[in-house]
Amino acid sequence: MTIEEIKQNGTVVACKPRLLNDNNMHYCPGCSHGVVHRILAEIIDEMHLDDNIIGVAPVGCAVFAYNYIDIDWIEAAHGRAPAVATAAHRLNPDRVVFTYQGDGDLAAIGTAEAIHAANRGENITIIFINNGIYGMTGGQMAPTTLEGMKTSTTPYGRRVDLNGYPLKISDLFAQLDGTCYVTRQSVHTPAAVRKAKKAIAQAFRNSIEKRGTSVIEIVSTCNSGWKMSAAQSNKWMEENMFPHYPMGDLKNTVK
């Protein structure tokens, strides 16, 4: 049976999303980015947004997000994606505008831009990949790195007396009057993927309905940065990340 015959029979249960192109992804096997890219491409297609959407890519592992999903993109300077998205949306109010940022980009260098965009209630969606480490630059400490977690700049483990505490920035977002939806998700099991996809779709609907800023934190794995196998990373994330960054909605005013 050829692929064409399978498609004709209506028996296809899974395929590569139309908007995910054939470029080879640079993400490590086991990394959450690939899954999140896939569900983003699916949602944009399912919601018929590919003629009405602007993505803003960060500096970090997702710096090349624009190489993989066939929509219009702006690649921002490190941390500035919410400022870029603010103007892109204010000047093009009919477009759905989202940022896709890691923990270093959003919660360290770009804290001011992220908090103020959310506090203004910009009608944008922030997709926040929290894997507790700087992946792109080779595994340095992130603001979300857990206490005791070893990174290349905390080789003996993060010490709160030296490096402060792992930042729960989504809790801050939830406190702001400008946010309408703040949720923490993951993509490490099929059930989690379905929930994360639903959350991103909800965020895009909020943007279309101009309800304020939506923040989707996706607690993620970085198996190469964490120096574990993909399977070990998922287990480690459940046992260590989830207690500090619990799953679920932190705020939803749109129910």
Binding site: D50, D51, N52, I53, I54, V56, A57, V63, F64, Y66, D70, I71, D72, W73, I74, E75, A76, A77, R80, A83, V84, A85, T86, A87, A88, R90, L91, N92, R95, V96, V97, A112, E113, H116
Partner: protein, 358 residues
């Protein structure tokens, strides 16, 4: 009206799509005037007070990426904060207008006038090999006129332009004829004029538009750099602007930009009453610099005095143009102090004492 206010009025009348700024003396009237005029109610122009200069310039980057005519303004310390974003806008080959109403530095310095950001504006400022088109207004009229000129040049060459004003031009009040009002470009006009713009219409276009400054393939990055440099050579060939006064019979030359050029002109007129034949060249574009004209004049004068409200920055470009043919001196004050015509003339005579004995 004030120079800063003229900028706000001119931008609305030009049909600018957006302004993003952060308050800092001595240019806050630009944001204040825009907020007071509420252009979002009339032309639909967006005005937003950002949380910082860093955010404001990145909003400009985002807005310019969508093909809109966007601008920001600040003063020296704030413009330092914008340099990262300006480098990205240049690298992204994006049209945008940045206004620097200079105050004295370094550091917090003073809120009083200065021209000490000449190096920063003309030599790069941010990282990487790039140039801004730099316009130096000397009057409130030019503050108004250079908004449209700056936008037009930025869109023509797809490169950021800067209005480099000193605090005097920003704060002083003069009569001004505002440019005629015209409507903002429609989305269709933007799509035609800026086919590269990230408008979010990838499906209609059948291909995504991506605005990025990243290129890890060295061969391609060098090609990008060469393309930027070709644009800069084209700008140098086409866009040099300056004004000359009394250069026909000049035996000596002054070079000055912005408000101090007007003080120099008064000094020169006083000197001419005493029989001293001094001419003035006022660069209007600081980049591209009118080096050709200065080189030409240096072949017929006996000496050059550059007058700036700084420690001597433009004088380096003047010396490069003169190439040692005649002596080139600098006179300037700092700390927010602006010399009067008598002080300028005294400085001239101290460098060229033979002129006073004539």
């Amino acid at each position: 009206m004030k120079g800063n206010e003229a900028i706000a009025h001119a931008a609305i009348r030009y049909g600018a799509d957006g302004y993003f700024g952060y308050p800092i003396t001595p240019q806050s009237e630009i944001l204040e005037t825009l907020e007071e005029l509420m252009p979002w109610e009339t032309t639909g122009m967006v005005v937003l007070q950002a949380e910082s200069e860093v955010a404001a310039i990145n909003m400009v980057y985002g807005g310019a990426s969508t093909g809109k005519a966007v601008f920001t303004s600040s003063s020296s310390p704030g413009v330092s904060l914008k340099q990262e974003g300006i480098s990205y806008i240049a690298a992204g080959e994006l049209p945008a207008l940045i206004i620097n109403v200079m105050r004295g530095g370094p550091g917090l310095g003073t809120i009083h006038p200065s021209q000490s950001d000449y190096f920063q504006a003309t030599k790069g400022g941010g990282h990487g090999d790039y140039h801004l088109i730099v316009l130096a207004p000397a009057s409130v009229q030019e503050m108004a006129d250079f908004v449209g000129l700056g936008f037009d040049l930025a869109f023509k060459y797809r490169t950021p332009a800067m209005i480099l004003a000193d605090g005097i031009v920003g704060q002083m009040m003069e009569k001004v004829v505002l440019p005629p009002a015209r409507p903002r470009r429609t989305d269709e006009e933007i799509a035609r004029q800026c086919p590269w713009a990230v408008t979010g219409r990838a499906a209609s276009r059948r291909h995504p538009n991506v605005e990025t400054t990243l290129e890890l393939d060295d061969e391609r990055m060098e090609q990008n750099n060469l393309r930027f440099q070709r644009t800069y050579r084209e700008i140098e060939a086409n866009e040099v602007r300056f004004e000359e006064y009394y250069t026909d019979d000049a035996e000596y030359l002054m070079v000055a930009f912005g408000s101090i050029a007007r003080i120099c002109l008064k000094a020169i007129e006083d000197a001419r009453e005493r029989g001293m034949k001094i001419g003035l060249i006022r660069p209007i574009t600081l980049w591209p610099f009118p080096k050709g004209q200065i080189e030409k004049l240096s072949r017929k004068v006996k000496g050059v005095l550059t007058v700036e409200i700084n420690a001597g920055q433009m004088v380096e470009d003047v010396r490069l143009a003169v190439e040692g043919r005649v002596p080139v001196y600098h006179y300037g004050r700092m700390g927010g102090i602006v010399p009067n015509p008598q002080e300028v003339l005294d400085a001239f005579i101290s460098h060229f004492p033979e002129t006073a004995r004539q």
